[in-house]
């Protein structure tokens, strides 16, 4: 089951580059968009990752960091990022394979890869929105932006 709104996002630490790791707790105090996707290089993901890569200024506007996660290795991610000029981190859920994807309920056991799933976390690391997309379908970004907007609205109401 995909983790749902109101759940605390499980902690993780994964390679973001061959010589570097990223911990979810490093991003405490920021909103986080987590993008689980099946694989580097496959055409549909390419579109999806390329789309988010064009949107970094929008995510910044909502004080959100975007992170991609798949079971590909750190070396695959490195080549893929260089090839597509991808400006945000892609994490390697590589060993043990799919461990983090499983924690989020976003792993496809049969195919041995992450599902195409989106999460928006608030500043405290609580999941505020999640979405599971059909594997062959690029979910776009309208849902992410709406979730970030709702967070802004809530913040304004509390002030």
């Amino acid at each position: 089951m995909l983790l749902e709104k109101g759940t605390a996002a499980p902690a993780f630490e994964l390679h973001s580059a061959p010589d570097q790791t990223l911990k979810l707790s490093d991003l405490k105090g920021k909103r986080v968009v987590l993008v689980f996707y099946p694989n580097d290089w496959s055409p549909v993901c390419g579109d999806q990752i390329a789309l988010y890569n064009e949107m970094l200024s929008f995510f910044q506007k909502y004080d959100a960091e975007i992170i991609g996660i798949s079971v590909d290795s750190k070396w695959s991610h490195k080549a893929y990022r260089e090839n597509g000029n991808i400006q945000f981190p892609l994490l390697a859920d590589f060993e043990p394979k799919g461990k983090v994807s499983k924690l989020y309920g976003a792993y496809n056991e049969e195919q041995g890869r992450s599902q195409r799933a989106l999460f928006v976390l608030d500043e405290k690391g609580t999941i505020q929105w999640s979405y599971l997309s059909p594997i062959g379908e690029n979910p776009g970004a309208d849902g992410i932006l709406k979730a970030l907007e709702d967070l802004d609205k809530q913040a304004n109401e509390q002030e």
Partner: protein, 174 residues
């Protein structure tokens, strides 16, 4: 299902019949090969069904993949300020493989534009923000790649690169 946000309005580049029963909106990238492929299909549609179809083009440049996508979008919008958006739009798609800054200026010359004004408008805040607003509207409308079509405000899921998939969708709206 995602709907067109915001709906077609006076800021949009539009052609065809303004009171047509069917409004077709394309989100496109001037450097995307699939958009260049869709271009003659849309032209054919307007030729055959121009009295029934209003066509709107919104910019969705994927700049990290296509370095000339945004400059080309700004060139078309700048030509639009001299009343020649669609002429520039056609010329860019028809010469997609030769796109660079020089060719954009040559297109402007061959369209008899005031090239000085064109060059200035191309870099203007107004034109840049039109292109950005188009992109943002695409995201909000659920655009996930190019070309993406909307027909009477609803995303057209059945476009498959063929003329028939467009014309059938138009017929279904009538």
């Amino acid at each position: 299902m995602a709907n067109l946000t915001p709906p077609v309005n006076e800021h949009d580049q539009q052609t065809g019949s303004s009171n047509a029963p069917v409004t077709l909106v394309e989100y496109g990238d001037y450097q995307c090969p699939h958009c260049a492929q869709a271009h003659p299909l849309v032209k054919q549609l307007l030729e055959e069904k121009g009295d029934q179809v209003r066509f709107v083009y919104r910019n969705f440049p994927l700049s990290q993949s296509h370095a000339m996508a945004k400059p080309a979008a700004q060139a078309a919008e700048a030509a639009g300020q001299q009343g020649k958006f669609w002429e520039m739009h056609d010329m860019i798609f028809e010469n997609q493989k030769q796109l660079d800054q020089d060719s954009l200026n040559k297109f402007a010359e061959s369209l008899d534009l005031d090239v000085g004004k064109f060059s200035k408008d191309k870099e203007s805040e107004e034109v840049a923000s039109k292109v950005e607003e188009d992109f943002e509207s695409g995201i909000r409308s659920g655009v996930n790649g190019t070309p993406s079509f909307f027909i009477n405000g609803e995303r057209l899921e059945t476009y498959d690169g063929s003329y028939e998939s467009l014309s059938t969708a138009v017929e279904a709206q009538k």
